[in-house]
């Protein structure tokens, strides 16, 4: 008996060995990733995923809309109210999240750019697949830097993944805007070089970066730089040229008037007009800050809050032509002012309100008007007005004409406001023209019809967002944007 106890104990001890030898089962580690083409494909999917971050989508669309003169906000508008009244502070949630998620995306693409060249898988060598993946990553990086620089101004350029906690590495400084634009252009041009014009499916052609996508963003980047105080001599020409490349491509064409709504309608999207739309499958229901919830009119369901409403200015502009197809994208004007924006709602949706339309990041109408602006600045006002009239024809409203460059500029800008309303473009347009301490933006705000959103000279600092306090506290190399306490 006694010996039995000893034996049992001994067997127990032997049986127990190796408890220290544990491997992660549910996790992928740095050692076992980036081994083959399939994993690279997964990493690229992970890079696009950053645009699906709830806050990211919200900030690109909702915050931009709420901040600009195309909207007013409902009383329960929360963060949108702050944006609308130009009272964003350094603790503003959307300003915090956009920075954080933007750089999270940059980490993901830097990881791809660093690792993909050395992945040992022959599948990557077929059809320049390796270069195409890297080009996609570079496109996303260029696009993120571009958007971040619009919101925050000078930003740190980070082109390597973070590998340690070394203060010299992680406490970065802001880089001057010319350097940021140089990086953006370099990334996008490299991407435009290697990206395919189309993919094997329409889903991917519209949903992933293509040559046309990179060229379209380049047109916008050159245009923005052309208006800045660090512009290069050929910027307007470059903007016009890149826009032309997109317009001339066989891939893109304006949808006809009758099909205008299809651009935003579930099941009909991936239209010929679409250059890049963020693919969205189902709504992540029950989140308080879903994009569509901000815009959806209340009769569409209890979930809808209609927090962002069209401004009287926008409604007046569109109502000048009651046949304007773009009015159909704004809900009925009933006495309770219960508006909604069909671009984000489920009106056209067939799956009981679960499916959400893809978000339209870039479409041809935008690029046509970018070219119009560039041509006008290059002195080709008539050509520019022709492009505006192309857009108006499609909208089903009469042509316009302009006697002067200034008149044409106003027409193009108004057309952009009407055509691209609530697509997150207007706020960027307002801050694109920095002349005379943003005189253009301040003037535009004056007739918005919403007294809260008027902007005096001391408030133009709000055209840029603040860097969140946590980031500033942690990284003393960063300096807050002027105006923010």
């Amino acid at each position: 008996m006694k010996n039995k106890i000893l034996y049992i104990t001994l067997i127990g001890l032997i049986f127990s060995c190796n408890v220290l030898d544990q491997e992660p089962i549910s996790d992928i580690t740095g050692d076992n990733f980036f081994q083959n083409e399939g994993q690279v494909f997964a990493a690229v999917s992970g890079a696009y995923d950053i645009f699906q971050a709830n806050t990211f989508g919200r900030d690109f669309f909702a915050s931009a809309s709420a901040s600009s003169d195309e909207s007013t906000t409902a009383p329960s508008g929360g963060n949108n109210n702050r944006a609308n009244a130009h009272q964003v502070n350094a603790d503003h949630g959307p300003a915090r999240d956009l920075w954080r998620e933007g750089y999270q995306g940059i980490l993901r693409v830097n990881d791809i750019i660093e690792n993909v060249p050395s992945v040992n898988d022959q599948a990557l060598d077929l059809d320049n697949l390796r270069e195409k993946y890297i080009a996609e990553a570079k496109f996303i990086r260029g696009f993120l830097f571009y958007r971040l620089s619009i919101w925050y101004g000078e930003i740190p350029i980070i082109t390597k993944t973070t590998k340690s906690t070394d203060p010299d590495v992680i406490f970065v400084s802001r880089d001057p805007l010319p350097d940021v634009y140089a990086q953006v252009i370099s990334d996008l041009e490299a991407a435009a070089e290697d990206l395919p014009e189309t993919y094997s499916s329409e889903l991917f052609t519209r949903g992933r970066a293509t040559k046309g996508t990179a060229q379209a963003v380049l047109a916008k980047v050159y245009l923005r730089r052309a208006y800045s105080d660090f512009s290069e001599p050929n910027d307007f020409q470059q903007a016009a040229d890149y826009a032309k490349l997109v317009m001339d491509s066989d891939v893109y064409e304006l949808v006809p008037n009758a099909e205008y709504a299809s651009i935003w309608t579930v099941g009909q999207q991936l239209t010929s007009e679409s250059i890049w739309e963020l693919l969205t499958e189902t709504v992540e229901v029950n989140r308080g800050d879903d994009l569509y919830r901000e815009f959806e009119r209340q009769e569409n369901g209890a979930r809808a809050r209609a927090r962002i409403l069209p401004s009287p200015k926008l409604l007046d502009m569109l109502n000048e032509n009651p046949n304007d197809v773009r009015l159909t994208m704004i809900g009925d004007m009933d006495p309770d002012e219960n508006f909604g924006f069909e671009k984000y709602t489920t009106k056209f949706n067939i799956n009981g309100g679960i499916d959400m339309p893809n978000q339209i990041y870039l479409r041809l109408a935008d690029i046509i008007l970018v070219r119009a602006l560039a041509l006008n600045e290059l002195g080709q006002t008539d050509d520019a007005i022709d492009l505006v009239n192309d857009i108006r024809d499609r909208a089903g409203i009469p042509d316009v004409s302009a006697a002067t460059k200034e008149e044409a500029f106003d027409l193009i800008m108004n057309e952009r406001l009407m055509e691209l309303n609530f697509e997150g473009k207007r706020w960027y347009d307002l801050s694109m023209i920095p002349d005379n301490n943003y005189e253009f933006a301040r003037t535009e705000f004056e007739d918005t019809g919403d007294t809260r959103s008027q902007m005096d000279e001391s408030e133009v600092y709000q055209l840029r967002w603040p860097i969140n306090n946590r980031e500033l506290d942690l990284n003393t190399n960063l300096v807050q944007n002027p105006g923010y306490l």
């Binding site: 000893l6 190796n18 544990q22 740095g30 999917s45 995923d49 949903g207 229901v285 209890a302």
Partner: protein, 1135 residues
């Protein structure tokens, strides 16, 4: 308030000491009276005439006493006073009269000199009883009582003639004198000494030397991997006995420790059945790592954290619920490092050893315990009624339109409707609680057993909340041979927790009830639930009734063990333990709930399996009766696996079937992870002559959680004790029973960082999908191969004093705990792509003083004992990364709680030089009578041209702290005859609470209902108040630059001090003589009340309420369900 509390505490101390003094004085007189031996005549020789007309026995005795010199001695409760005596005697002998009385009353009499002893005639003697016994042949005995352990006579010893009530007490010199009958036996007894019996024989002088009964010092204390007597303990260990925590209506074992042990802070944060309690031993020793203590149940490590519990919004359920409190024999709380270091890398937060009851040799004893009662919320918040609500909402819109020129319309629903719903009344209820427990124990010299079955059923004070649990236990000990023992401890438990959402969740019925519009009815005329027109607040009653949210847990916890005495001094013990927990989770939100038109379904299964094999060798030897050596060495293997499978879905085809099966799947989560711990440990105890006590131990732990180069950690400890009272030179201090000095040092570790088993690896996370058909993977954490344990070094100095027959026991400890290599989420700038990475950074110090005083204030027929404990702990974060002495706030780390209902989430901030638990935000100066705006303090005093503070985010400052200055408990036990009364009080002093509920109910924005406090709001210039102007959206910047009425600020900070009468129990023990008839050995019935009185200035529901969802945030009360007040009645039956 603080002063009031202090006063109360002081008074309590004062009365205990006074009681004790009083008792010492009274001791000489309260017991038996001396009787005179002169002039003794037999009752047969005394003839009297007396008319006993319808007298009860006692009246009869008094009547006889008035006519004679005799004194009757009896216990009142023995006498049945309903028996009436009708007897008329004329010149009869007293013996005859007594015989007659005896026949009627069933009493017998025994004359000892002039005393007549009255006793009951028991059933066995009925036939042949000697009704009147006479013992006048007496002798007087004199003598002196001394104590073996002290010089001089021993006063206060009871000297009683056995079998009679005849007795006396030794005087101040220890002398006594007593007259007894022939053949008597004397019984000497005194508390603290062993009772002695002496047959008198023909002696007339009997001196007695009493031997101290050092039972209390000999009490066994469970320590890590062993047991020691209290006298030999050299570390800081608190013991809570099972009997002290019996029959208290709480769900979890932790709650029973509240206020019972110095230095153990237990906060019952929530009144939701099954919710976790906040337990901290000697403060927080980790910032982001685990701060919960380690629980060991009969040697089995228990998983007390359920990492993958379904979140209900703020409160974590606890798995310590699975231990049946009725099974517990004792709980030992190991506090200093000398006690805990034997548990090495898991011991930094202290260790709680739970020992369950075992079988005793002898006939099988059965125990049945039951209680039942009701619970109710003892306080409701005062909210606006319908009319006041409408007034406020209109005013807020008007104010804002006037101020900013907006034209916000008054919504059509802002009007009185004839309804005035008190939503709190609709969701709170009086809820029953019942506990039934049955156990049996017994055995012979070979096999002993303890088995129990229990059922606990508790409904929550919010409608639809319910928790019930069934427990079963078997503890078995079997002696195979003289040298081999085997046994098992096993418990299994099945619980069912029907929850409602809590705290931060928008589906929390309590939250909804506080802010719901009072003009709405509960239900529409057609019976459906009324919905809020703003879509912001779901119907509170519907939230409770229509949402399914259950967690069903099954638990098996236990071990088998064998012991083998290899040699006389050497024994081997091996055990194999398991802890298995399965939690099946089900959640369903129907499409009819506001905000959830798509519905929501969730089904999950979570499992934790832990096994542990431990083998120890123990060597014991006593040399020359002076050197006592015990050495132990052991090895332990432990492995834990966690598994989760959870699916979520929405858009259910029907609301009738509340499972995931009829929904569209939206997500599947499957998680499997393991970790292992390999340990070697050893300990040596050496005692010299019971005077010098030495202990040294070492544990070497290897954890799979770290990189192979960092896997092993060394955790040494040593302690020293000196029992001064054992010294020769102390022999003059007879009142001193024990005086011991203790000192200890040790290092312990903490390996529980977050909930992750591979913290040092760079990992890529799945689920970053662009399309479901195109799964995405992205980097989620940075690697850190140098990651290792948090280590805590602790020094402890203690003093144990026991004086005056153990009437006063004092235990004092001071300690200093320094945690280095704090495991912390090192914040990374977001520009790096990460938010943080786990690293060993920073250090923190806890130091404190603990005092426990136990006194027996009154002994005797009426007893009163007191236990008082108080603990002071000071915490300071002494080092954090990126610290810049020029700018001490720059290295602040803050974490935000979730927000909701128009409030901002509170921030806790970690700052070097400040304690854990600091609240961070704006300081409020008041409300400007001219404008109604809140004036916030500017950190540097700067003002703008109007003289207003130029407030910015950098003006936020630390405005309070959640840690108490001291906490404690105060227990008073009284017993008189068959009654016992326990009064238990508990307090916390000097802690702040951030009342975020008040922030939600006082910000006046939106269309939520508000606290009645806003009736004091500023309404016109000149109003002096602390409630600002009502504004419907309250845009940032109106009240002050960059701040509004909703800001996290000192406006919502409150003093959280409280003194609580936690428990009062009144019990009645039936007399054994009564129970004999039913073959019952003991029966006690009792009534008990919990949370009966609370003295506090806190305006929220309950000063103990706090959220637990964010580990770093303590002392925040946001819509936490308050603890109930509970009344129960119960019984304990043994047969």
């Amino acid at each position: 308030m603080k002063n009031k509390l202090l006063h109360l505490i002081k008074m309590g101390m004062y009365y205990s000491v006074m009681g004790f003094m009083l008792q010492v004085i009274l001791l000489q007189t309260v017991l038996a009276t001396n009787s005179s031996a002169q002039d003794v005549k037999s009752v047969r020789e005394i003839y009297i005439s007396i008319d006993l007309n319808n007298l009860d026995p006692i009246q009869a005795f008094e009547a006889i006493e008035s006519k004679t010199n005799y004194k009757f001695a009896y216990e009142k409760r023995m006498i049945n006073r309903s028996v009436k005596i009708n007897y008329k005697a004329s010149n009869q002998s007293l013996a005859e009269i007594l015989t007659e009385i005896s026949k009627v009353t069933n009493l017998k009499f025994r004359q000892v000199n002039n005393n007549i002893d009255v006793k009951k005639i028991n059933s066995k003697e009925r036939k042949n009883v000697e009704r009147v016994q006479i013992m006048t042949q007496t002798r007087t005995i004199n003598g002196k009582v001394t104590a073996a352990d002290a010089e001089g006579g021993l006063p206060g010893v009871n000297v009683v003639e056995k079998g009679t009530n005849n007795g006396t007490v030794s005087d101040i010199n220890g002398d006594y004198s007593i007259t007894v009958g022939e053949g008597a036996t004397l019984v000497f007894s005194s508390v603290g000494y062993t009772t002695e019996e002496v047959v008198v024989g023909n002696r007339s002088v009997i001196d007695m030397t009493m031997i101290a009964d050092i039972q209390q010092l000999q009490e066994l204390v469970v320590v890590g991997y062993g047991q020691q007597t209290r006298a030999d303990i050299t570390s800081a260990i608190s013991t809570v006995k099972g009997k002290d925590i019996d029959n208290i209506p709480v769900t979890a074992v932790d709650a029973l420790l509240q206020g019972r042990a110095a230095g153990v802070q237990v906060v019952q944060n929530s009144g939701a059945p099954g919710a976790e309690n906040y337990v901290r031993i000697r403060g927080n020793s980790s910032l982001l790592g685990q701060n919960r203590p380690l629980y060991i149940v009969d040697g089995v490590q228990m998983n007390n954290i359920t990492a993958n519990q379904l979140s209900n919004g703020g409160q974590l359920p606890t798995t310590t619920n699975d231990i049946n409190p009725n099974d517990i024999a004792s709980m030992e709380i190991l506090k200093d490092a000398a006690a805990t270091a034997i548990y090495g890398a898991r011991a930094s937060n202290g260790v709680i050893l739970i020992t369950t009851k075992r079988g005793q040799e002898g006939a099988t004893k059965f125990t049945f315990d039951a209680y039942t009662g009701v619970q109710e919320v003892w306080k409701k918040l005062d909210l606006l009624n319908a009319e006041q609500y409408v007034d406020l909402r209109r005013e807020a819109i008007e104010n804002e339109n006037a101020l900013v020129g907006s034209s916000i319309p008054v919504p059509s629903f802002v009007q009185t409707t004839g309804f005035d719903t008190n939503w709190q009344e609709e969701i709170f209820r009086t809820a029953p609680v019942t506990d039934l427990n049955f156990s049996a124990n017994g055995g012979n010299d070979k096999t002993k057993f303890f088995i129990s079955a229990g059922y606990f059923d508790q409904q929550g004070t919010i409608i639809e909340q319910a928790y019930d649990r069934a427990n079963f236990r078997i503890n078995l000990d079997h002696k195979v041979t003289d040298k081999v023992k085997m046994g098992l401890n096993f418990t299994t438990s099945f619980s069912n927790n029907d929850q409602v959402f809590a705290d931060f969740d928008t589906r929390n019925p309590l939250a909804a009830a506080l802010v719901a519009n009072p003009t709405l009815p509960v239900r529409n005329e057609n019976g459906t639930f009324a919905q809020d027109p703003t879509n912001e607040v779901p119907n509170p009653v519907q939230l409770a009734k229509d949402i399914t949210f259950t967690s069903k847990q099954k638990r098996v916890l236990g071990n088998v063990f064998a012991e083998y005495d290899i040699l006389k001094n050497l024994s081997l013990r091996t055990s194999f333990s398991v802890d298995f927990l399965q939690d099946r989770q089900q959640r369903f939100v129907p499409t009819t709930v506001t905000g959830f038109e798509f519905g929501q379904a969730l089904g999950g299964n979570f499992e934790q399996f832990l096994w542990n094999s431990e083998t120890t060798l123990t060597y014991k030897k006593i040399l020359n009766n002076k050197h006592d050596i015990t050495a132990m060495a052991g090895i332990s293997f432990l492995e834990r696996e966690e598994y989760l499978l959870r699916t979520t879905g929405n858009n259910p085809a029907t609301n009738i079937i509340p499972t995931i099966a009829v929904s569209n799947f939206t997500g599947i989560n499957n998680y499997l992870t393991t970790y292992g711990l390999l340990s070697y440990f050893g300990r040596v105890n050496y005692t010299y002559d019971n005077k010098f006590l030495l202990m040294a131990s070492l544990r070497v732990d290897g954890s799979s959680r770290f990189d192979p180069d960092q896997q092993f950690g060394y955790f040494p400890a040593a302690s020293f004790g000196y029992r001064i009272s054992e010294e020769e030179f102390m022999s003059g201090f007879g009142f001193l029973d024990d005086l011991k000095l203790r000192a200890s040092f040790g290092i312990t570790g903490n390996q529980d960082i977050f909930t992750d088993d591979f913290p040092s690896l760079a990992r890529y996370g799945t689920g970053r999908d662009y399309l479901s058909s195109w799964p995405g993977i992205a980097q989620s954490s940075l690697s850190n191969p140098t990651l290792t344990w948090e280590s805590t070094t602790q020094f402890n100095f203690g003093l144990d004093v026991s004086v005056l027959d153990s009437r006063v026991n004092l235990m004092a400890d001071v300690y200093r705990k320094t945690t280095n290599d704090l495991l912390f989420g090192l914040p990374m700038p977001w520009s790096s792509g990460y938010s943080n990475t786990v690293d060993n950074i920073g250090s923190m110090v806890n130091e404190g003083l603990e005092l426990v005083i136990g006194t027996d204030n009154i002994r005797g027929e009426f007893t009163w004992s007191t236990n008082f404990n108080i603990a002071f702990n000071r915490n300071e974060i002494t080092s954090l990364p990126y610290f810049d002495p020029e700018n001490p706030t720059a290295s602040d780390f803050s974490q935000q709680q979730p927000d909701g209902l128009g409030t901002d989430g509170t921030r806790t901030v970690f700052r070097q030089g400040e304690p854990f638990g600091s609240f961070y935000g704006y300081k409020v100066l008041g409300v400007d009578p001219a404008t109604g705006f809140i004036q916030y303090e500017n950190v540097d005093g700067s003002v703008d041209e109007d003289g207003d503070p130029t407030l910015g985010i950098s003006d936020r400052q630390i405005f309070g702290n959640a840690l108490p200055l001291h906490t404690g408990g105060f227990t008073n036990d009284f017993a008189y005859k068959n009654f016992d009364l326990n009064i238990f009080m508990q307090w916390s002093y000097g802690n702040d609470i951030y009342n975020q509920t008040a922030a939600a109910l006082n910000n006046m924005t939106g269309f939520f209902n508000q606290s009645a406090n806003v009736l004091n709001r500023w309404q016109q210039p000149g109003d002096e108040t602390d409630v600002p102007i009502a504004l419907v959206t309250d845009p940032t910047g109106f009240a002050a630059v960059g701040a509004n009425n909703r800001e996290i600020s000192s406006r919502f900070l409150e003093d959280g001090s409280f003194l609580r009468v936690k428990n009062i129990t009144l019990g009645y023990n039936f007399a054994p003589s009564f129970l004999d008839r039913f073959n019952v050995s003991s029966l006690r019935i009792y009534a008990s009340g919990r949370n009966l009185l609370t003295f506090t200035d806190y305006t929220g529901f309950d000063p103990e309420s706090q959220n637990t969802s964010v580990q770093t945030a303590v002392g925040v009360d946001y819509l936490v369900q308050p603890q109930p007040r509970t009344y129960i009645i119960g019984l304990n039956l043994q047969f």
